[in-house]
């Protein structure tokens, strides 16, 4: 937690909140506003052990890797009935030297509900908003909202996570309550974040120049039937980034990423069946070295069954499939072109997980993955793709605390 004491965001967030409180007119009103102030947070520590390949640090050597830590603090306040201000600072280490664990503003929004009736509500959020992407993206780093330690990597991959995480801009949301359920829609326009992970995945990290997000659009339509018994969602985005290399670099390039996700879930009191299917069109155009440019469509899907038992326990079984290029599912063309091993172009992951909520604020989880392919293996944990093994096993342990 010492990381937070020195965080440059914490004083700023607190200062902002204090100044907001001060505009409440009377002491009584100020007290009412203060009553709405909430703080919540979480700490997660994981252990990753692999037999071959590395995931989140050097997991295949020694006793595994402890370089999987998530710490988040969240504050929110409602200065007016229709106004909500919410911010979250997140420090996350997933492999690497710990520099990435520096706390960052995960989201920071001013939310105003423009219209509100028994049937309908419409609102707008300005600031850094979380992208509504599939079922899990908006809270992907909060372990208590995840069904497993790792989200299905075919869709929520960690190797280019910065791109899909949050956008700086404006989003409009609406909710319509109909007789059978609720329809929700959200559309956002903003600038995505482009960190090293994306440069690494595009193999631009060693090149001179910088990759910057450009105005992007994201939207989700979600239907919730009968209080959440059945959920269906469709998410789509058009994300763009620009690589400016200067005269000595590999050339200026445009990166375009267009994912579509269909999400379905059925919930019973003691079990849930979830499935998501995604198509991802992505292209990089403009590099001087022609083979480095690409225009491919990837395909991902998973099916997940989770079952709750003995009130605090849950087990989960999932099969998760990723093809980076659906026209070259087995990666044969990729390997023939000398771009890397064929198994780096797909991944099929069979997962069994167990969760125990031994206390409302404490969760312990364990998970086993048997993976065929390295399609979602983070590049920075495995610098040489030629050194990776096609079939590998991974075991994870995780302890989480919320407050």
């Amino acid at each position: 937690m010492s990381a937070f004491a020195s965080s440059r965001w914490t004083p700023r967030v607190l200062g902002g909140l204090l100044s907001l409180m001060s505009f409440a007119a009377s002491p009584a009103a100020a007290q009412d506003v203060l009553d709405t102030l909430q703080f919540q947070g979480f700490v997660t520590q994981g252990l990753v052990v692999t037999d071959r390949n590395n995931f989140f640090g050097s997991s295949s050597s020694g006793g595994g890797s402890l370089q999987f830590t998530e710490v988040g603090v969240n504050a929110s306040i409602r200065p007016r009935e229709r106004l909500l201000i919410s911010a979250q600072v997140l420090g996350r280490r997933a492999g690497s030297d710990g520099r990435d664990a520096r706390p960052k503003l995960d989201h920071g929004v001013v939310d105003y509900q423009i219209f509100n009736s028994q049937r309908r509500s419409v609102g707008v959020q300005a600031g850094r908003f979380k992208n509504p992407f599939g079922f899990y993206n908006q809270t992907r780093d909060m372990s208590f909202t995840r069904p497993s330690i790792l989200l299905p990597q075919s869709i929520y991959f960690d190797r280019t996570r910065s791109l899909g995480l949050a956008s700086d801009g404006l989003t409009v949301y609406g909710e319509e309550r109909i007789a059978s359920g609720t329809v929700r829609a959200q559309v956002g326009v903003g600038r995505p974040q482009t960190n090293e992970d994306l440069e690494n995945a595009l193999r631009l990290d060693e090149q001179p120049g910088s990759l910057d997000g450009r105005t992007s659009v994201i939207g989700q339509l979600l239907y919730e039937h009968d209080g959440g018994r059945f959920l269906a969602a469709f998410s789509a985005a058009r994300v763009r980034a620009r690589f400016d290399s200067g005269s000595s670099g590999p050339g200026d390039a445009d990166f375009r990423f267009q994912p579509w996700i269909l999400s379905l879930q059925y919930n019973e009191e003691n079990w849930s069946l979830t499935s998501e299917f995604a198509l991802r069109e992505s292209s990089l155009q403009g590099l001087d070295f022609e083979p480095a440019n690409f225009d491919i469509t990837g395909e991902s899907w998973y099916v997940q069954y989770s079952r709750r038992f003995l009130t605090d326990w849950q087990w989960l079984l999932r099969y998760d499939v990723l093809y980076l290029d659906r026209n070259d599912r087995r990666g044969r063309d990729f390997e023939a072109d000398g771009l890397g091993p064929s198994h780096s172009r797909f991944a099929r992951d069979l997962t069994f997980g167990l969760q125990w909520r031994l206390h409302p604020q404490i969760m312990v989880a364990g998970e086993y993955h048997h993976v065929d392919g390295t399609g979602w293996l983070p590049g920075r944990d495995n610098p040489d793709p030629g050194d990776t093994s096609r079939r590998w096993n991974m075991f994870l342990l995780q302890t989480s605390l919320r407050f």
């Binding site: 929110s76 919410s86 009736s117 028994q118 909710e175 959440g228 009191e269």
Partner: protein, 212 residues
């Protein structure tokens, strides 16, 4: 649910619906799963006793007269048939939605109540802010309210709070530890809303009935 939805159960359900329409307090001995739980528990106990007896070979159990399984079943059935009578005899313990007396609503569609307790609907129909109070997830009154009144799966509710809080789209409800605190808080907080057993409700709060 074979007991709850069986022939005679329908008549009782209708009677309660008409009480609800008339704004009368409700009591639904058949509707809250207790009967089913009771039956299952008794049958399980009967089965367990038999297998334990067989396993450790207690002579007295083996020499009991008559076919044990049939006798256990008859006892279980008799108790279950009696249980509505027994259960109706205790205090009025159906769980109702309660609100601060300043809230100008007596009736709400169930999906609006779900949105309020799901922390997605932030205001009452008259525009005042809703302040939601909840008991711990493990509290039986919480479980019954969520399952029987809101008719949603309890773990889904906690998940939707977490998703709202940690995505910056809303706030968490306020926790109280006991039904007594629930009553105090809802009565003292303008816009306050919560739930409790009907028998424990007093005139400091307003009862809100839910339309299907």
């Amino acid at each position: 649910m074979e007991f709850g939805h069986g022939g005679s159960g329908e008549g009782i359900r209708d009677a309660h619906d008409s009480r609800q329409r008339a704004g009368l307090p409700m009591r639904r001995p058949f509707d809250d799963g207790r009967l089913e739980r009771c039956a299952r528990m008794l049958l399980a106990l009967a089965g367990l006793r038999r297998s334990v007896a067989r396993w450790i070979r207690i002579p007295s159990c083996r020499t009991l007269p008559g076919p044990n399984r049939l006798r256990d079943l008859v006892i279980a059935l008799a108790l279950c048939l009696l249980s509505p009578v027994l259960l109706a005899a205790d205090a009025d313990d159906s769980v109702v939605m309660i609100a601060h007396p300043g809230v100008t609503v007596d009736q709400l569609p169930r999906n609006v109540a779900r949105a309020i307790f799901g922390m997605r609907q932030r205001t009452w129909p008259d525009g005042t802010a809703a302040r939601v109070f909840v008991l711990p997830n493990s509290h039986p009154v919480h479980g019954r309210f969520v399952k029987e009144r809101l008719e949603i799966v309890p773990h889904q509710l906690q998940l939707s709070w977490d998703r709202i809080v940690f995505s910056g789209t809303g706030q968490a409800p306020e926790r109280v530890q006991t039904p007594g605190q629930m009553l105090e808080q809802v009565a003292a907080t303008p816009g306050g809303v919560g739930y409790m057993e009907q028998g424990a409700v007093d005139e400091r709060v307003r009862i809100i009935t839910l339309d299907p």
